[in-house]
Subunit: 242 residues, 2 copies
Amino acid sequence: MIRVVFFDLDDTLVDTSKLAEMARKNAIENMVRHGLPVDFETAYHELLELINEYGSNFGRHFDYLLRRLDLPNNPKWIAAGVIAYHNTKFAYLKSVKGARKVLLELKKDGFGLGVITDGDPIKQWEKILRLELDEYFDEVFISNDLGVKKPHRKIFEKALRKFNVEPHEALMVGDRLYSDIYGAKQVGMRTVWFKYGKYANRELDYLEYADFAIKSLGEVLEIVRGLNLEEKERADKEVHAD
Amino acid sequence: MIRVVFFDLDDTLVDTSKLAEMARKNAIENMVRHGLPVDFETAYHELLELINEYGSNFGRHFDYLLRRLDLPNNPKWIAAGVIAYHNTKFAYLKSVKGARKVLLELKKDGFGLGVITDGDPIKQWEKILRLELDEYFDEVFISNDLGVKKPHRKIFEKALRKFNVEPHEALMVGDRLYSDIYGAKQVGMRTVWFKYGKYANRELDYLEYADFAIKSLGEVLEIVRGLNLEEKERADKEVHAD
């Protein structure tokens, strides 16, 4: 019997990658508009390379971008980038299509709900609170707080302990076969791979750990209800067999 | 003859202090709303003390606030503070009453216009660009870029050199008697003290360096026009005396 459903955050509940791409493009566009003497394509390509090397949480993308482009440090250009980046992130932060509906239905059905995510805890909470997703969740688990990253067992085990459920009573939904699906399966959870965003066709070496693959979040409902119905029928049969 | 008018930025052109106060109050309010187990007054008072000690550009106000209140680190509360703080700063950033009008009039009259400000260059440019004040100014001078702070002569001398004017051809408008007025007078500029915000009655030891004191930015126009008229009349008299 499934009693708890866990969700990954980025690109599962929140449309992070699409938003980040839009924010970065708008940032470069605004820098060019304010005098950055480089064409959009060159600057955008350089920014993507930089993010690839330094990570997306690096705090100094725009001044490093100027260095890489052999340009002088210019706070006006940097400010133009920062403004457009933040404006985009604030204005266009959205939950993934169908996310609210599925959370609400699961809540009504009495399931425990949790988030299991990597990333900077403050930034993750910012997304959750800005979208008011906190209303739906009993618990939010952020791997950084435990000093690990998914697929490390520690975060999944903590989540199970907190809800006081057995692994087979929990379902994990996430977009990444490695961190979400392999991670959850390791501790014995049921797993739903959400084929969405840039990981929809990656990390396929870990495909065997996915019990289900879905293309829309709404399917989680059918899966959970289906699993619990099967379980119920099996239990009923056992009663009759007695 | 006045040919260039320089303006300080914070609390002269941009309503910085009022905004910061509003943003801090909203931050604490949102933290309390999301479960911070302390009353508003206690938390707000502690935040002000912290800012007093660590400065307003310290990047970790909210997690240090939790430490000072002997509370556990809680990214949800911090995120609640960060969100409300940023939302307020973005939504309520305003230029000081009358600023745009006076800049436009000076521009129409053919005066050179410059900003002379302290502070983090990117943050200062963010305010200028968000308010689209850059349209009015020929030059922006930020003391950090020269490794000094107002009233250091270096920043005022650079501004004069860049506009290629003599000190007596320049007027400095600012809210601080020490950094703006004493600073500008040191190098020989004419000075207008804008009695506004929290410095409206402070640093009075430097009052003697103010040629004029005003309570509304519009008065700058009358002052500049008056000074140039006097000058013209004096020049005319000299011609007649020849």
